[in-house]
Symmetry: C2
Subunit: 451 residues, 2 copies
Amino acid sequence: MILLKSTGVLLLLSTNFSCAQQKKPNLILIVTDDQGYADLESFGSNDLETPNIDGIAAAGVRFTQWYANSPVCAPSRAALMTGLYPHNAGVPDLLAPRSPGLSLNRVTLADALKKKGYQTGVFGKWHLGAAADYLPNKRGFDEFFGHLEGTLDYFSHMYYLIRAPRPFHDLWRNTEEAWEEGNYMTHLITREAKQFIRNNKEEPFFMYVAYNAPHQPLHMPKKYLDRFSHLEPQRQRIAAMLAVVDEGVGEIIAQLKKDGLNDNTVVFFMSDNGGANNTKNFLSNEPDQFFYGANNGGLRGHKGSVFEGGIRVPACMSWPGVIPPGTVVDEPGIGMDIYPTFLKIAGAEPPDYMLDGHDLMPRINERKKTPHDVLCWEYAGQYAIRKGKWKLSLNTMLDFRREGPEVFLADLKADREETHNLAGEYPEVVKELRTQLDTWYESVKPNLPSE
Amino acid sequence: MILLKSTGVLLLLSTNFSCAQQKKPNLILIVTDDQGYADLESFGSNDLETPNIDGIAAAGVRFTQWYANSPVCAPSRAALMTGLYPHNAGVPDLLAPRSPGLSLNRVTLADALKKKGYQTGVFGKWHLGAAADYLPNKRGFDEFFGHLEGTLDYFSHMYYLIRAPRPFHDLWRNTEEAWEEGNYMTHLITREAKQFIRNNKEEPFFMYVAYNAPHQPLHMPKKYLDRFSHLEPQRQRIAAMLAVVDEGVGEIIAQLKKDGLNDNTVVFFMSDNGGANNTKNFLSNEPDQFFYGANNGGLRGHKGSVFEGGIRVPACMSWPGVIPPGTVVDEPGIGMDIYPTFLKIAGAEPPDYMLDGHDLMPRINERKKTPHDVLCWEYAGQYAIRKGKWKLSLNTMLDFRREGPEVFLADLKADREETHNLAGEYPEVVKELRTQLDTWYESVKPNLPSE
């Protein structure tokens, strides 16, 4: 059946809605950790093997200007789970081990969908609060298998970042410690995700698959490393880790198809922030060396920076029969938009406070402009605001260690790589954006966690 | 051929010496880490699977009163490598990460054998100095594959004990970092040991196989854990870890046989100290709990204690054609005795200073009494001395945390479990032993490392 572009969309939409009356669409959110903007073939990489994630983009929509709500993990994820700026979710910064997290007065995506009859599961990295009241099972998830903190030894599942009082084992099935040492974490996450699908064929489900790869430590089974022996060592490790993730995504999609669920399942994929720099062996006693295994596609900065390299990330979404294959959306979108989008698809009630995110579907299927007047970021004293083509960044860092300019104005349309500072040339733009940034930050301040 | 016991030994000895003219015997020292006295079926366990290590005892000699030179790892190993009390080897205590170790003026077992034409290799835990001049390749070993520090994540090969400034990766092939994450350390040690045998069929070799199991963290591949699912969880983990070690020992012996080397190879097996107590998940933030997965066969105390549970360890030795199968030696022996024994077998020159250890062969094949008038221990302010049936212990600890009696005199012949303190009853024995202990400690003091 050949359809005209414009009518095709409508027809497909109506087909889907009749189907949805039988059963609400399943919702899957797949998030990777520190994957760079160009760390997918569909986003410009030519040295990785990511056919399955690329397949989501091919089957649906690819977002060329997708943002994480923060250049670091926990705040970015807080936005995903709440539809709010991280600051309004109580997680503006990285979380120290064993600490509280997502504000208890916020309704998580899982809470909202569960109320609508969804089975809910999260597999992988939680990192939104490890104190008792903040655990996944207390935040709307029926099932949890994964780790609570921000980094994990992929094989022994130990947490041993230097900020921790002592290293500890951090793998859990719901609230029980799970012992699976020797099994590679990415494989475990995939295994659990597939099992969750198998267990929930009848009821609609929401599954949050939070791969911790390719976050450091850069662990992977040797056979994947060997597959990329032609790459230089730093890139080789990222390529190997992402190959395991991509294989996992492929297995998840295959499971959906096997169980006849794929046609009624929405899959959203994104990275939680830009590609990181790491030290060679993660936590060496040797002097730190920069490690740029990730590929941010020429964008400036890395994880930890409010420049595009820290916050613009690969993202795509599929919804068979609704989103036409091969769709490309160049309008900006941002992590916190997923929450209202998923709620709308599920017909679930939004919470009784205002969300910061906006439903994505008009941008995807109706080619609408973004409803966000501005997008704002704040992380560890850096600020950024985007309005149309303009982006103003203040007190910038290029990553966790290297300082950048104090004031930087970029015309992202002409200069996505943020190389030309137009702040001197357009003082009135700087002034206007700065005012809007101030207004935004004043608005989120009351919701910041107390020190 | 049926031989009378007394003449048989002589005949066998002469057979061997004619054979040795063709090629000197290979020497293998296999050491485990924190294996308890009764953590072998041949030493009283009834819940483990250790047929291969038991096989060494069956093929040769089992030592019922074998001692480690220290209740902790590094000093015990220092004695093995030098034939000296740990204090005379410069390693009286545990070693902090990245620190010096074995005194540079000491001739290691590898040094001495190498001079006699032996190929030398060490596979597994070194823990005798991680500073540049103290590395295995600087201490007489042609080949090294393993880790330098005292604990290791068995899968990611990271070191993350709390005393470390920062966690770091600690797996090396000679002086080059080796990346093998995901591969279980015990398997890697076995793999390397077998390869070393294959590479050295022609020349005599000395191989030190230093398994880090069953030292915490209590990691093992799940399939071994499942094999012992009938045991309670703490014991299950030790059983699983030791099963992998035993399997490895079996593979090493099989490799010797395959290469026609078994008949001309001496194998010595021992644990480096008594069974330990650990916390459940190694380095938890939860309150520490005692973990007694090891079986010290009723001996008092654990690793860290100068009571028998901390220092009396399983040990056995095989030398086909020389040591009659099924030999049992009840005379005390101690780690530092291995050095002069191996040197004698190899016909190698002892160093130009006095050794503390004594050749074992007279105790094994001639039923001689131990030539040690006394055996002494000192660790972290605890002292012990054994003379005949008497053992005096001072300032005792039961492990790293629990204090024991300040003065304890045991009659080990009547009371191997050290339950009856005879110090009050035999003050003159206490006095005599204390004097000898003082004399000993004064003698080693000049060799202690400066603070």
